[in-house]
């Protein structure tokens, strides 16, 4: 090796050693990691509430709030109040308050979608201020809220919404955003309560838990959840909870005459846990009767939910997207102004009873 070459190599190493001082470090115990952040609007200002877990001392989490006129100065305001540099890389849940949701999320969403440190986080909205909910999590385990939402999505019939799905729904055409809704119930517990359906960046209206589950059936691959309905046929009466194990949904937009029609086929595999007195599934007649009643109930409720969406001018199912697939001259504006308004809905449900539990309770 010539001397020059050697000097060059040494130079490279030395340079990298010097330049390494320029790399911003974020040593894990010297940053303030936040798990939850809530945004709301208060007196025409943007208000953020942040929950920091105190891992080092194993104490309760800390809630900090700050107000500012725009999201960037909000970060600064928060920084003034925290011991270490504040980092969003471990953010797990983002909550938007009711007021901000109705006012519009555009400002906040534009800011967070530019930050690569924010991973796949859950986004929810809340009845009232997110402060109330975050305050309830302080004495719980640090990831309490995140686990609560994850579990609800996993098997309690809430559609799977996270940051990436949100980007797709917000920036993509032919579909509208929808977020799970959190509230604090009368006993002071945090609880998931239905969903909020958005039009653009504004909250349009909220739907109930049951409707959220129907929405999940029409959107998600995971269809785990419990559907309850009233069986009222012949002499069989009672309210039945049916656990849906898995299934498929198929959505088509077809033209019927000069009207577009959304045809939705649901195939659901269910598990029956309890039946009202008198219904015996061993009997062919009872089984058919029960299946028909359930199929009808799901179909009509789903149709009425779709009509609800239609009446409010929102499309969380993404019918516009499905319509777009086969049409080259699709325009989002045109679709929602002309076609979606007059669309007809037809939901067909097919039920397959997979499990009925062990033993025959009645005999």
């Amino acid at each position: 090796m010539t001397n020059k070459k050697f000097a060059q190599r040494i130079g490279c190493v030395a340079l990298s050693l010097f330049l390494s001082g320029c790399i911003p470090k974020s040593i894990i115990d010297e940053v303030s990691l936040m798990h939850y952040i809530g945004f709301d609007r208060e007196k025409k200002m943007l208000k953020a509430s942040v929950v920091y877990p105190n891992y080092a001392t194993e104490g309760n989490s800390t809630l900090l709030t700050a107000e500012a006129k725009n999201p960037s100065s909000l970060q600064n305001e928060l920084g003034h109040k925290s011991q270490f540099e504040y980092e969003v890389g471990q953010l797990r849940v983002m909550i938007f308050g009711d007021k901000l949701s109705r006012y519009g999320l555009a400002d906040v969403l534009d800011t967070i979608c530019k930050d690569p440190k924010i991973g796949v986080i859950r986004i929810v909205i809340s009845d009232g201020s997110p402060d109330l909910i975050l305050r309830k999590t302080l004495n719980k385990s640090p990831l309490y809220l995140k686990n609560l939402i994850d579990k609800s999505i996993e098997d309690e019939g809430i559609p799977d919404i996270n940051l990436h799905v949100m980007y797709d729904q917000y920036f993509g055409s032919g579909i509208d955003m929808s977020f799970p809704n959190l509230k604090v119930d009368s006993k002071g517990d945090i609880k998931i309560d239905g969903m909020g359906i958005f039009k653009g960046d504004k909250l349009k209206f909220k739907i109930s838990d049951k409707e959220a589950f129907l929405l999940k059936l029409m959107m998600d691959r995971n269809k785990n959840g419990v559907y309850s309905f009233n069986l009222d046929k012949n002499e069989h009466k009672g309210n039945i909870g049916v656990r849906i194990l898995y299934g498929k949904h198929k959505v088509k937009v077809i033209k019927e005459g000069n009207q577009e029609k959304a045809k939705m086929d649901l195939t659901l595999n269910i598990k029956l846990e309890g039946l009202p007195k008198g219904v015996k599934l061993e009997k062919e007649r009872d089984l058919i009767l029960f299946k028909k009643a359930l199929q009808k109930s799901i179909s009509t409720e789903a149709e009425s939910l779709l009509k609800d969406f239609q009446a409010n001018g929102v499309d969380p199912v993404g019918l516009g997207r499905i319509y777009k697939v086969n049409r080259s001259n699709y325009s989002e504006q045109n679709f929602y102004k002309m076609i979606y308004r007059n669309m007809k809905f037809d939901v067909n449900t097919k039920i397959i009873v997979r499990q009925t539990g062990v033993g025959n309770i009645e005999s």
């Binding site: 790399i23 040593i27 894990i28 990691l33 877990p53 891992y55 640090p142």
Partner: protein, 511 residues
């Protein structure tokens, strides 16, 4: 291959070797040493000089065979003693009659007895009564490459013993040994061993050429030869397999590699070999192939674990806190909260502690070494955590990665793996995950460039040879590994041909 070709001219002009041209000079030079003995005997009119180094010869042979034989001549006063008849009846095998001064000088320093008649010409007799086993240890259990099952015989410091051990394993006329003498001061006997007609001529030629080109003073150990004949001396990786196990070396030789032994070294080196050869333990072949393959895979996994875990810890804790799973955040932060150092210093501190423990354990007698391991491992480790010099999690990581590096059966390779950890830790402290990737890229570029006796070092991976996976990453059943590796270009491909077993279709109930 090109190396050592220009050495010949430098040899000649700076050889400080004593150059005795006459017999008298040789003897005078030898007489300067006190262990050189000269006996004069008067046999039939002529004076006989018997000279030798009494430290080199075997006294038993000297006193029971040679001296009585000479004493036999003393009564025959009338006969004229001449060397020819003397040599003919001598009951010893290695007797040389020569007048070559150079040869005489070489041989008396190897333990030959010189017999010269005073009046006769320059011719004299050299009788080999050297004792090759003086000062050599007799037990030959493997000391460093342990195995639970299988033979535990290893090589010793005696070359002839080693070759005889190898011949006991490979009782084949194909096994050929070629002896060279290397070292201007040590005059060490070095032997290259190969299977004639199986090992490719190219490899034999390369090894022979590399060995004969060596100019060196003392061959301390065969590992010194390893470094001198190496294809690339600027690499942390050993390019030739070093082993003290007979089964390991006989396996490589039977595969078509050339093994090199050196007198005074309990190790043999074998090449050309590949990176994956270093992770083969003879034990793999003593277990069932499923278990053997599993252990081999675990060992290979251990390399990655050993090289990368501590650097990944540094990268994650310094830069990429985003990728820590939520449940791990608590324990990580809690243990690190009281540590005053940045992660780099913390890791280096602990890594060096482990290296110190290992080094101290290796230098100390084995009984103290064990105690030190326990004291160091448990007491220092716990105390370091309690004094919040390091975090608990890091202690586990570093201890495990040290443990993983010890699974490598060949010591030279396990040393290189432990060395590699440090550049990776520094790279990850400088550039985080990017640094680790950069390090991997540089490492791979280096590895793919390496050659062992002119054959590529990374063989089953590059050039890609799917068939060699049989006996590199995995250890398939003996039925499947009956061919020699392609990369060695053996002249005979098949090792053995397993017979098809008759397929029985017996039901267990038919008994």
């Amino acid at each position: 291959m090109v190396k050592n070709d220009t050495d010949s001219d430098t040899n000649t002009n700076q050889k400080p070797i004593v150059n005795h041209s006459t017999f008298k000079e040789v003897i005078d030079a030898a007489k300067k040493s006190n262990d050189f003995k000269e006996i004069r005997k008067n046999i039939s009119t002529s004076m006989v000089f018997i000279s030798y180094f009494n430290t080199l010869i075997d006294r038993d042979i000297m006193q029971k065979v040679l001296l009585p034989y000479i004493a036999d001549y003393e009564p025959r006063q009338n006969e004229v003693l001449d060397l020819h008849t003397f040599q003919k009846d001598l009951p010893l095998e290695d007797v040389v009659k020569t007048s070559d001064i150079k040869e005489i000088e070489d041989k008396i320093y190897k333990g030959y007895v010189l017999i010269k008649l005073e009046n006769a010409s320059d011719e004299c007799l050299l009788i080999n009564v050297s004792n090759s086993s003086t000062g050599m240890r007799q037990f030959n259990e493997t000391e460093n490459e342990f195995s639970v099952t299988g033979p535990k015989i290893g090589f010793v410091e005696n070359l002839d013993m080693n070759i005889s051990l190898l011949r006991k394993k490979l009782k084949s006329p194909l096994l050929v040994t070629e002896e060279l003498v290397i070292g201007t001061l040590s005059k060490t006997r070095v032997m290259m061993v190969y299977l004639d007609g199986i090992t490719n001529e190219e490899h034999i030629k390369t090894v022979r050429k590399r060995l004969s080109n060596i100019d060196f003073d003392i061959v301390w150990d065969v590992s010194a030869l390893d470094q001198i004949i190496s294809d690339n001396s600027n690499t942390p990786f050993p390019l030739y397999l070093t082993s003290e196990r007979i089964d390991r070396i006989s396996y490589t030789v039977s595969n078509g590699q050339v093994a090199i032994f050196s007198d005074g070294s309990p190790y043999a080196i074998s090449g050309p070999c590949t990176l994956l050869d270093f992770f083969i333990s003879p034990e793999d072949y003593y277990y069932n192939w499923i278990i053997g393959s599993l252990f081999r895979l675990i060992r290979i996994l251990g390399i990655f674990f050993s090289i990368f875990t501590s650097s990944i810890y540094v990268a994650v804790v310094t830069y990429h806190y985003e990728m820590i799973p939520g449940d791990l955040l608590g324990p990580l932060i809690k243990t690190r909260a009281n540590v005053p150092f940045p992660p780099l210093i913390e890791v280096i501190f602990l890594e060096i502690t482990i290296e110190l423990l290992r080094e101290a354990g290796a230098r100390l007698p084995s009984k103290i070494g064990q105690t030190l391991g326990i004291v160091g491992g448990i007491v220092i480790g716990q105390a370091a955590v309690a004094a919040s010099l390091t975090s608990n999690i890091l202690l586990i990581i570093v201890a495990l990665s040290a443990l993983a590096s010890f699974t490598t059966p060949i010591i030279t390779m396990s040393n290189s793996i432990r060395l590699l950890r440090f550049p990776f830790i520094i790279m990850s402290a400088l550039f985080g995950g990017l640094g680790i990737i950069l390090g991997i890229t540089i490492l791979l570029c280096h590895l793919f460039n390496l050659k062992s006796f002119g054959t590529p070092y990374m063989v089953p991976l590059y050039p890609f040879r799917i068939k060699n996976f049989n006996d590199s990453f995995l250890r398939l059943s003996y039925k499947k590994i009956n061919k020699r590796s392609d990369f060695l270009h053996p002249k005979l491909k098949m090792k053995y041909s397993p017979k098809e077993r008759e397929k029985r279709k017996e039901d267990i109930n038919d008994e």
